[in-house]
């Protein structure tokens, strides 16, 4: 698995404990890609900024990725596991020497690092060895950029599903092969890479766990080319199923109909401030959130949409305080959400202003730790769900990807359901052809980690929604509501 080994050394004119203490400190630029995390202890998620030797789409000179701290031996040794955009392991050792410390980093990178980099050099998405009888299915997700922190768990869930499908004999004896595409949280990149892979490999289907901005770009291509497209991420829910396009993810009304009044009841607050990124899904959350709040005799005292990827929120926090809001509805996504919640927590606002963040799931929460404690969310899956099916699923997930792999969430676990629904429909249809699979999908049911789900005549998923509150270490599930109630 480990393809490339890189060794770097440096001498620091500091004793080992001071050199060690520099790791993760704010302002310690250059230290392991400016790794940022809540606590230097095993299991803690870290954000990293990887400098690129060339310009990324949008002209950025760095790419945002994630890592996990897996071992800490004070003043001697630190081990990090790379999660996104590629996987690998970095071991940093500290040895005292004359007038300071020798710091050594051994980086072992997996093959996907090479794949990600060659893709970035204009080469087509995954180009590995493939068997002629394989059924290629793309997982279109984000492994870098603002939504990049979701990608590793989504890829893991898709890989686990494929392994299970193939262990059951695949589809008519043919194995399913999942090809992961990183859209870099950029719609044009997602479209270009998907089109390229489809034209070279002839995809049977694409499972999408990405932003609705990418969905809007890719869905036109999928429709025009007759590609079966299972979009399993949370979405606006404004349109019904359209040919071979399935919006299986929870809709905005699914997420807000019960959670908005529930938080008003719980807190006694009525004055909402709406904050989100400026693209289609957050705009729908603001519109629907306002409607639902007003229906329950609440009102909106302020609203702000910031660009996707925004990381500075000082002005927004001042605006929220000045507005007199006692509730916040946040449709910030990925890193924007993390940066906002950290600042909100640091400003001491958590005590008097309650927050509902419908896309705050495990991948996001694991970077927040205690800073996210008290935020509410409403999603069709939490890894904390106390069911035998889920316990079973998590056991298989941990066995396959290790104790420190990112926890599955509603967003990322949806790739698992998407793959299994595809396989089940293809077996029912007796063919992996998109047109036949799409007909067979209607009325299909599946008992999975999130409970029993079924595909309705409108192409949407019927499933339970769960209301949960983030704690310093996970989510506490507060209630269950059916979808489609709004």
């Amino acid at each position: 698995m480990r393809e490339i080994v890189l060794v770097n050394e440096t001498h620091l004119g500091l004793p080992p404990h001071e050199a060690f203490g520099m790791f993760g400190r704010t302002g310690g630029a250059g230290w392991m890609f400016s790794a940022r995390f809540e606590n230097a202890e095993p299991g803690t998620a870290a954000g990293i900024d990887i400098p690129l030797p060339f310009a990324a789409p949008g002209g950025e000179a760095t790419v945002r990725g994630t890592a996990r701290i897996v071992e800490v031996r004070p003043y001697r040794r630190l081990v990090l596991q790379h999660e996104t955009p590629w996987t690998g392991r970095i071991t940093i050792t500290f040895a005292p020497e004359a007038a300071g410390t020798r710091v050594r980093a051994v980086t072992e990178l997996d093959e996907d690092a090479l794949g990600w980099m060659t893709q970035s050099l204009g080469c087509a998405a995954p180009d590995g060895e493939s068997r002629a009888d394989e059924i290629p299915v793309a997982l279109l997700t984000s492994l870098s950029g603002t939504a990049g922190l979701f990608g590793r768990a989504a890829a893991n869930c898709a890989a686990l599903a494929a392994e299970e499908i193939n262990a059951e004999g695949g589809i008519g004896g043919r194995p399913v092969r999942v090809e992961v595409i990183d859209d870099r949280t950029d719609a044009a990149t997602g479209l270009a890479r998907l089109r390229d892979l489809d034209q070279r490999r002839g995809l049977a289907a694409v499972v999408g766990v990405h932003s609705s901005a990418t969905f809007n770009a890719v869905s036109r291509y999928a429709q025009a080319s007759g590609l079966l497209y299972l979009y399993t991420a949370a979405n606006e829910g404004s349109q019904v199923q359209d040919g071979m396009l399935f919006r299986l993810g929870e809709s905005v009304p699914d997420q807000l109909a019960e959670s908005v009044p529930a938080l008003m009841r719980e807190s006694g607050g009525r004055a909402w401030y709406l904050i989100g990124n400026d693209y289609s899904w957050p705009r729908a959350v603001c519109t629907q959130g306002r409607r639902i709040a007003e229906h329950h005799r609440g009102h909106v005292v302020g609203q702000r949409l910031v660009r996707l990827g925004e990381s500075v929120f000082d002005g927004v926090l001042e605006d929220i305080e000045a507005s007199g809001a006692d509730l916040v509805l946040s449709s910030l996504v990925g890193w924007s959400s993390i940066d906002f919640e950290r600042r909100f927590h640091a400003a001491g606002l958590r005590g008097r202003i309650r927050t509902l963040a419908p896309l705050l799931e495990e991948s996001t929460r694991e970077h927040l730790g205690a800073a996210g404690s008290g935020v509410w969310s409403c999603l069709p899956y939490f890894s904390a769900l106390d069911t035998a099916e889920n316990a079973n699923f998590l056991r298989r997930y941990r066995a396959a990807f290790g104790a420190w792999a990112p926890s599955p969430s509603a967003l990322t676990e949806s790739a698992y359901e998407g793959l299994h629904l595809f396989a089940r429909a293809a077996r029912k249809a007796g063919s992996p052809r998109g047109s036949e699979v799409s007909r067979a999908l209607h009325g299909l049911t599946l008992a999975g980690p999130r409970g029993r789900v079924s595909v309705g005549a409108d192409g949407r998923l019927r499933q339970s929604m769960y209301l949960a509150e983030a704690t310093a270490t996970g989510f506490a599930v507060r209630g269950q509501v059916p979808s489609g109630t709004a």
Binding site: E3, I4, V5, L6, V7, N8, E9, T10, H11, L12, G13, L14, M22, G28, A29, G30, W31, M32, F33, I50, P51, L52, P53, F54, A55, I90, I92, G100, V103, A105, T107, L109, A113, L114, M117, T118, S120, L121, G122, C123
Partner: protein
Amino acid sequence: MIDQSHESDLVFRALNDATRRAILALLASEHEPTAGDIAAAFPAIGRTAVSAHLRILRDAQLVSEVRDGKRRRYRLGPNRADAAIAFLRQIYEQSLPAGDAVASERPEGLREAKNG
């Protein structure tokens, strides 16, 4: 995977130069620039020297030439894997703080053997 062949000597030689690595980075960022575009991005070096660098990169198959009327345009490939490794090396060289001393880098490992 230690490759002693002529081809890998060419790759090693091509990548063992900061200007040539910068040219690769430029080709990764921009769509098929001409030799003139590339020379313009490296004003301190001079056109003749840039042409020499491009020839070395081409011999290593890290860069290929495309005819566009009278002009020649350049793009990465066909050998993208070695260029990708060069970029990964460059990224991790920056992963430790330089501190108050000169950072040294000692490549090791299988894939690195041919580069180091």
